[in-house]
């Protein structure tokens, strides 16, 4: 295996929200929902993204315009080239059969959990954002429970508020979540209260992507290779989860 970017052409671009676009490109090889790829813009930078679409040989990443890298990526047109390496990490573990599950996406975290929502049968899909225009993939699933912090669409409140109500009514065997870490921590606590297994995808600053540089540490777990998806049992031994993260310099800061 050689860990170097492979150049692909952007074959389609979709505006998802005023600030988020999906870039589609040819993708060969295996992919588990929750795994990530490193996306390279030559002479600029390289950042991790979970695939938000995978269909035959076409994959997509949904990118929120935020820093220098994502702003540059947003200027790319169909036919432009980007580099891709991976996939990396351990994704979500799907449940077979009829057991009820719940999949929770908060903000752009919905993009990371979207492929799982495509695959996992009998799942309640919950998405939350600050406000209506930021909601992603409105027509992608048969059914999706939506909530907004400002009440501009759907349930008024956070994903955790809505999840708390749902947990009372359904017998979920597992809850999956991706979003801001404060949200993930609350989902984890809620799951513990109700003795429900959970899996969350944790984000950290990633450098190598293959477990050697130590940049993405979370309590001795390397997000890039031991994660990014961790289950309740793993999280129990990860005191940094929900509390501190390591920045690009290696400095530990409070979340």
């Amino acid at each position: 295996m050689i860990e170097q970017p492979k150049i692909v052409k952007i074959c389609d671009i979709k505006d998802e929200t005023p600030n988020a676009k999906t870039f589609f490109f040819e993708y060969m090889g295996h992919y588990d929902p929750g795994q990530f790829v490193m996306v390279w813009i030559p002479l600029n930078d390289e950042k991790p993204f979970t695939l938000s679409y995978i269909n035959r040989n076409i994959a997509g990443i949904t990118v929120l315009k935020r820093g220098n890298f994502t702003k540059t990526l947003h200027t790319k047109k169909i036919g432009d080239q980007i580099g891709i390496r991976g996939p990396y990490g351990r994704g979500y573990s799907l449940i077979k059969g009829n057991a009820a599950t719940c999949i929770v996406g908060g903000g752009i975290g919905m993009a990371s959990i979207a492929c799982l929502a495509d695959k996992q049968e009998n799942a309640t899909i919950v998405q939350g954002s600050r406000t209506m225009p930021e909601l992603l993939f409105r027509h992608r699933y048969k059914e999706m429970r939506l909530c907004t912090d400002d009440g501009s669409f759907g349930y008024k409140g956070t994903t955790v508020d809505l999840l708390r109500e749902l947990v009372g009514k359904h017998d979920y065997q597992k809850i999956y979540a991706c979003g801001p870490e404060k949200m993930l921590y609350k989902v984890y606590e809620l799951c513990n209260e109700h003795h429900i297994e959970c899996e969350v995808s944790i984000e950290r600053y990633i450098k190598c992507g293959f477990g050697i540089c130590g940049q993405c540490d979370c309590s001795g777990q390397r997000i890039c290779i031991d994660g990014p998806v961790f289950n309740s049992k793993d999280l129990k031994d990860m005191p940094d989860f929900g509390k501190t993260e390591i920045t690009k310099s290696g400095k530990r800061i409070s979340l």
Binding site: E3, Q4, G214, T247, S249, G250, R252
Partner: protein, 306 residues
């Protein structure tokens, strides 16, 4: 089964086995050091610390190719004040912990060494040989015999801990540099740092892949060069050598010991064989020793010499 002894004495530091986590690999947090110790490392080295925090180079910072790895992380680190908070209770790590300190001038090396002096490190490593970070190592002339002597002396004056000076394979006067370190009071030599710098160009985009364009080359490609350097340095100095460069199996480690190393650093091997490369290498060394009639690892040191 024969009782095989892997423990070594490195400048009066007892290592349960000769494998050491090389600097720059996984040594970012206390929790990772502990995990690497649990994976069988005889000692662990933290990622190099400078006086102030550094973000390092942009990604890609670490990539691999057919014969090894090439990196230009650029000494990202949180700075000595944060490092002091991160690296505490080092006795509980389960293996001796080595500090790695960097600076752009003698005074910065001294400041970092002083800043970490109460943290419980077992030794201090001074890399004067990084090939890809402006202001440090080869790019600021720290790899010359004179600079090596000056920096080592400055740190020697303010610490009683063993000092290992890490030298470059990419300079012709390697034995002179090792000798300069020894004369300045170094307790041991770490040979070698990554070689190069090298470059990998992506031919579709027609651009260098690394964010810094060039980076240090490690892994299998480096091993024969590292073995030769250790062999030469062994003849030139009396202080012990930590052999580093492309070691990922027990056979590689034994080869390095035969060249003259007392202990071996492992870095790229964490990628090729996983984080438990340390226990794997130890098991393979033991196996080889049993098959070849050795029961003490120290009997292998330097036996490739005439």
């Amino acid at each position: 089964m024969t009782d095989v002894k892997l423990s070594v004495n490195l400048c009066n530091i007892r290592l349960s086995n000769p494998t050491i986590l090389a600097s720059g690999i996984l040594g970012t947090t206390r929790a990772l050091l502990k995990r690497v110790a649990e994976c069988g490392a005889g000692a662990v080295t933290i990622k190099s610390i400078s006086k102030e925090a550094r973000e390092g180079h942009n990604n890609p910072t670490v990539i691999t190719y057919e014969a090894g790895m090439i990196n230009a992380v650029g000494y990202s680190n949180p700075g000595v004040e944060s490092a002091r908070i991160e690296f505490t209770n080092l006795k509980e790590i389960g293996a001796p912990v080595f500090a790695s300190i960097i600076g752009t001038c003698n005074d910065e090396f001294v400041k970092v060494a002083e800043g970490l002096s109460e943290s419980g490190f077992s030794a201090i490593e001074i890399p004067l040989s990084c090939p890809h970070t402006p202001g440090f190592g080869l790019l600021s002339g720290q790899g010359t015999p004179k600079a090596t002597y000056d920096i080592t002396s400055a740190v020697r004056r303010i610490t009683h801990l063993p000092i290992f000076v890490k030298i470059s394979p990419s300079i012709p006067e390697i034995t002179t540099v090792a000798k300069a370190a020894e004369d300045a009071g170094a307790s041991g030599i770490t040979a070698v740092n990554s070689m190069g710098p090298g470059m990998i160009i992506n031919i579709e985009s027609k651009k260098p892949v690394l964010g810094f364009k060039v980076g240090g080359v490690t892994g299998d490609a480096l091993r024969p060069i590292a073995v030769r350097c250790v062999y030469d340095v062994y003849k030139a100095v009396k202080i012990p050598i930590i052999g580093v460069g492309g070691i990922s199996t027990g056979r590689h480690a034994i080869e390095m010991l035969m060249a003259g190393a007392v202990a071996v650093g492992i870095g790229t091997g964490v990628y090729t064989r996983g984080i438990d490369v340390f226990s794997k290498v130890c098991a393979e060394m033991k196996q080889w020793m049993i098959e070849n009639g050795y029961n003490n690892i120290n009997d292998l040191v330097g036996i490739a010499h005439d």
